[in-house]
Subunit: 323 residues, 2 copies
């Protein structure tokens, strides 16, 4: 992956500058909170994908690419601010989230600001295709989050609904980021479709991997507490698999653990033990890998190049556990 | 005002249908929460103003008018959902706010959804002028809310900053609603500017009046608790006037009351007593009336008609205490 970062180093620095300059409110509080979260260690995966996809299709308009890269990062950051309030997050990327420093109220409002900033910049691009794509993507993202909330502690959640949740809340923006790269470089419809599919499959893989890491990661590396989803009643793929494959007695016990007043580390250990027994972690890892394989095959219509190679590398990277 | 409602009765019913049909998510929770707040007694002042302004300029496209009316109401409703979370509201329009029934998480997410829905519909209008106006308006609204938050319990808040806060958070959307009516009916730039100014002045008046009612209204009529702003440390025009015109000893006492742990009804009575002594309520009411007078004079470039008369009536209505 280091190779990929260095290939696009200069353009990524310009994208970074675009993001930094973009936050320019008359309200100090907004600038402080927005810069804090934007500089809190995010990897800029969405702008990176947009940039690679634009290169893959022989991009011509660097300025549009930089603006679009900023827009997808602002949208992503807006959702992080709201997510942290919704999840009562105590830590993000190893540091306190904005809500711990400025409160929930500021996090909600600065999230709103970043989203409206993204819309302002999208409108200024004066490109209908881009505006249709971004607006429908944002709507899907809010629907995915609401769908997830409405299935909290739902022990009968199906894999199909779980996949819809992660497609809407996560994969849609990664898909849009890739497609935007294609739109900006006037790619054919066939290529834009391939980029959308690549981004969606990569996003699905990323979220499944992230959900799995919540059970098995090394705490320091993850930068957040283990077992967070379990604690919040969020049923993700490993747990979903376990609930469907465990014995009736185990299922009863799992429900009791999850609905109990207190969340204990020994409960988490017990759940992980059951997941290992029933192959739930291995199943989820395999599903993430399947999505990555599909993402890679989506790239087959592009001729081999350093950019296609970079996309392959990013695909492998997003499901690795050490980032 | 009854005369105004009946003049536009049919078109308002169509606008209502547009709003009702617009909320059509795949996620049940979203539809439930959105319909609840949309049907909780809002007066549709923004769609009404848009419709009257479109008629004032000989509107030609009814469909666009209905869609735009829905958009401004969705934006307004999105801010209500977020405001109620931010203010920890216990009551809105005499009934429990959505956050009391579905929780803060759902209120945040459905607010996000309604805002993204508005953006989707705005993009579909395929009109750049409308999209520029709406996106910059939404950005201002989020900045106004953040500016207000950052001046919570700021005893040195100036009237200029207070006016900026209410212009951004409230008047900007009323101004945009009026201007949208002009845009849809292809009004001249001069007329669009006049409509913007009218909406802004009306919005300023409305917010000043609303802030004043928080101290003097009849609880049942207001549909929310009296003294809410004082309780939250929100410094609005009557209090701002009092802080600047009271004695040093009174100011010291006011600070102590506001920063105390408990909010007591007798504190509110004491504050209102001081406001009466120093003419703060009368001052705020006069300021609201000044804005309404300016709003009315903004209409002078339009020839007299039933629609111009309706605008005058709405202007008087928004600062009356019994709505």
């Amino acid at each position: 992956m280091d190779q990929v970062w260095s290939t696009y180093k200069e353009i990524l620095e310009e994208a970074e500058e675009q993001i930094r300059k973009g936050v320019d409110s008359e309200v100090d509080l907004i600038n402080k909170v927005a810069h804090y979260i934007l500089n809190s260690g995010g990897k800029r995966i969405r702008p990176l994908l947009l940039i690679i996809c634009a290169h893959l299709s022989d991009f011509s308009n660097k300025n549009q690419m930089l603006i679009a890269g900023g827009i997808v990062e602002f949208i992503h950051t807006a959702t992080l601010l709201h997510d942290d309030v919704i999840d009562n997050a105590e830590i993000r990327r190893g540091i306190p989230p904005a809500r711990r420093l400025w409160g929930n109220q500021a996090s909600i409002l600065v999230g709103d600001y970043l989203y409206t900033l993204a819309v302002c910049q999208a409108v200024k691009m004066e490109n209908l295709e881009i505006n249709y794509l971004l607006s429908s993507t944002c709507r899907k993202m809010s629907e995915g989050e609401a769908l997830q909330l409405s299935h909290n502690n739902d022990f009968n959640l199906t894999e199909a609904v779980y996949l819809q949740i992660i497609e809407y809340k996560t994969a849609s923006l990664l898909s849009a980021s890739c497609r935007l790269g294609g739109i900006i470089s006037n790619a054919s419809n066939e290529k834009k479709e391939a980029l959308s599919r690549f981004g969606r499959n990569l996003g699905m893989a990323f979220q499944v991997a992230d959900d799995t890491l919540d059970y098995i990661a090394d705490r320091r590396r993850l930068g957040k507490s283990l077992g967070k989803d379990l604690k919040e009643g969020k049923i993700t793929l490993p747990l979903l698999h376990l609930l469907q494959n465990c014995t009736v007695a185990e299922r009863k016990k799992l429900k009791k653990l999850m609905l109990g007043d207190k969340f204990l580390q020994k409960n988490l250990k017990e759940v992980i033990g059951l997941m290992e027994k029933h192959g739930s972690i291995a199943y989820a890892i395999q599903r993430a890998q399947d999505f990555i394989n599909r993402a890679k095959s989506d790239l087959s219509i592009f001729k081999d190049s350093i950019h296609r190679q970079s996309m392959m590398t990013v695909a492998d990277y997003v499901i690795r556990r050490d980032h």
